[in-house]
Symmetry: C2
Subunit: 203 residues, 2 copies
Amino acid sequence: MSKSSNTVWHQATITRSNREQLNRHGSAILWFTGLSGSGKSTLAHAVEDELYRRGCRTTVLDGDNVRHGLCGDLGFSEIDRTENIRRIGQVATLFVDAGVIVLTAFISPFRIDRERVRMMVERAEDFIEIFCDCPLEVCEQRDVKGLYQRARKGEIADFTGISSPYEQPEKPDLVIDTGHQELSACVSEVISYLQQRKLIPAL
Amino acid sequence: MSKSSNTVWHQATITRSNREQLNRHGSAILWFTGLSGSGKSTLAHAVEDELYRRGCRTTVLDGDNVRHGLCGDLGFSEIDRTENIRRIGQVATLFVDAGVIVLTAFISPFRIDRERVRMMVERAEDFIEIFCDCPLEVCEQRDVKGLYQRARKGEIADFTGISSPYEQPEKPDLVIDTGHQELSACVSEVISYLQQRKLIPAL
């Protein structure tokens, strides 16, 4: 008989709280939602940049690192969009358990999909919904990727704001006026909020 | 016209290398593979425990936190197992990009599925395949969850080692004799390897 076949192998468990202690900050999901071109991804990366300077552990999930990988098998139909947001929500909760502040930047147009993510987290306050409030006209004027022009021509189906609805958050934790403010002002508002919530220490 | 509609919002980027500097260790996937009962999950958690003591940022992905969440829609057919491992691989690469040492504990019986994960990572050496080498007899004798008994009775279909194949790694980065060694000895072997590879500093 093998030497250790009767040995009990004790299961060690490092908890989220252990990790938060090591990191010296809390973990949470910062869920940026808004129209295409409203500045979600840029703002998420800029907030991450500031958090990095402060020694925080972070990650950004956005179309660039999720759409071709984890969700590479999904399209843009309503059912696929729902599954897309579900998977992102699940991955975000894994990062929260790992003690990481995870910033997600997806249009996530449907209220029910965002609410489902809020239901996934351990504590409701782990999910911080940040509405990037930018008028459709401004997004369309920016049109960085030329997507609005193509959507107006009918070349893209189900385009949020044009041919598919965007359901604004009813009670977002934070509204950032990304349509009229400079980026640095937007970043400051998010950072102040995180300090108020005591997720990160004041400088 | 809105004030900042013509302002270019510069996209900040915190890189994996930035994060590794902040953490003072490298990131990688430690992919534990082996039969049910071979000690993958226990070993992964015990290695994480030791890494935590050393101030490393880690996370464990195993059935407990993935099977009901991210992969809750998948069963145990060959096609679903392949999709399961694909998603886990994608999530693991997101953690690696975030500077985290991610320890995965899944039977992952098919060589091709594990090789696909190796192809997902930025550098082949980011994927460290650790074979938990434990004879089927020992796993079956332990039978912590009573699964082997149920599989032998035919109550579980496609059970690895009984009614479904386990394809042993051909060139694993590390082979740990989890069938005959104490847990602490197994942990030491993994930690030594990570030091040799300079992923973590020597104490």
